[in-house]
Amino acid sequence: MKKTPLNQIHRDMNARMVPFGDWDMPLHYGSQLDEHQKVRSDAGMFDVSHMLAVDIRGEGARNFLLNLVANNVTKLVQPGKALYTCMLNEQGGIIDDLIIYFLTESWFRMVVNAGTADKDVAWIRTKRDELMPGLEIIPQFNLAMIAVQGPNARAKLWQVIIGSQAATENLKLFQSTVFDKYFIARTGYTGEDGFEIILPADNAEDFWNKLHAVGVTPAGLGARDTLRLEAGMNLYGQDMDETTNPFESGLTWTIDLKDPRDFIGKKALLEMPIRQQLFGLLLEDRGMLRNHQEVFTRYNENGDKNQITSGGFSPTLNRSIALARLPSKITIGDEVQVLVRDKKLRASVSKYPFVRNGKSLI
């Protein structure tokens, strides 16, 4: 099992540790629900050091990324600006979803998922060899990443990193800056305000302890999953993978086919029939929606599999919610049936996100 620089701290804090891919990670530190509520109402912190920062360095880095990823890095104008994007294969399937930070014209940083990191780096290097052999692709294995999220997250961080307020209080969403040894981005995976901080692995324990001392609640993968589901954010490997494309994964907003720029997967996307889309579901009967449950709609056709990609309990709404891949024709408010064990339960089709900044949007 791989361990993050905070592994011992999680154990000292009595976390329930679970295997997450190759990584030994905290599921919760006692109560996943409490951790969820703390992030919605105050501030929580997540060890996300299992994710990998991959630096792209050298002349022509931007041109390389224009081709490598589906979203358009032309949007990255101001240094520190971040962009969410898919990296596609030639068939338009999603190799990974990631964030790219623009640091300088010869230095972009990608942060990729843990489970796909090896595959991503191999793919990027292959494409580098084909397209721009002079570029350096540098996985940064000696960094830690900590997400501090919640309405009070920024203020708590300012208490811990003395002098950082002036440097970061004007950051907008998806902007970042470097302060001292910290790379600080106003991004996250919870639907709350906050920062994601990248720092040297050797400083991680001290930083975590200081955040804890000012009242930031440690939160595990469990709360991270319920928070991101409420926030309507995709999880790679569940809501999309190499067999699905951005259009049927709720990620059309990250693709601009009108732009003349070519990128890997574009040709396939242009030719692809799109019959399904991600929708939200709200369970109307008693029960619990879970991943892979089958959904029955008025439009079952073409043999497409209609199923829940991420389902569970929403602590904020106090009911079960899900993301499901359903026929594109379906409309918000439609009633569908979900096969839960041996019963068909009623659910209604909903827009998502379900929750933003502590408030229900339903």
Binding site: R16, L27, H28, S31, Q32, L33, G222, T226, R286, G287, M288, R290, G312, F313, P315, S320, R341
Partner: protein
């Protein structure tokens, strides 16, 4: 690990308490609730349903996962703890008070086949190590 000695247990982590009227009360153990984490949903068997020993008859779901509950004895369901419908977290708070359902056993001798606290303790230890 809290394993009250006056209760009986199963390998599938139910606890069983014999009541003075000859019915048995069934819940899930401290160990089971710890493994599952925060409870968010309970599905009960119907009152009057006749269960066979070992039959799936209820479901407890946590934020993380669903777990089947098995009938520890053959018998008829006489009562369910509907309080848990709105407050499933009571299973986490006190699993030995937050019972799920009661059975009128067909044969009380089946009680003798169930695990006592010491035997259940050994099962948990063998799972952990």
């Amino acid at each position: 690990m809290h394993i009250p000695s006056h209760l009986k247990y199963t390998k599938s982590h139910e606890w069983i308490r014999l009541e003075i009227d000859g019915t048995v009360t069934i819940g899930i153990s401290q160990h089971a609730q710890e493994l599952l984490g925060d409870m968010v949903f309970v599905e009960y068997p119907k009152i009057g349903r006749k269960l066979k020993q070992g039959e799936e008859c209820a479901v407890v779901e946590s934020v993380k996962a669903a777990a089947d509950v098995y009938a520890p004895m053959t018998g008829e369901v006489t009562e369910v703890n509907s309080e848990l419908e709105s407050e499933p977290e009571k299973i986490n708070q006190d699993p030995y008070a937050a019972w799920l359902f009661k059975l009128k056993p067909a044969d009380l001798n089946e009680l003798n086949e169930l695990l006592d606290a010491a035997a259940y303790q050994r099962i948990i230890e063998s799972e952990i190590h």
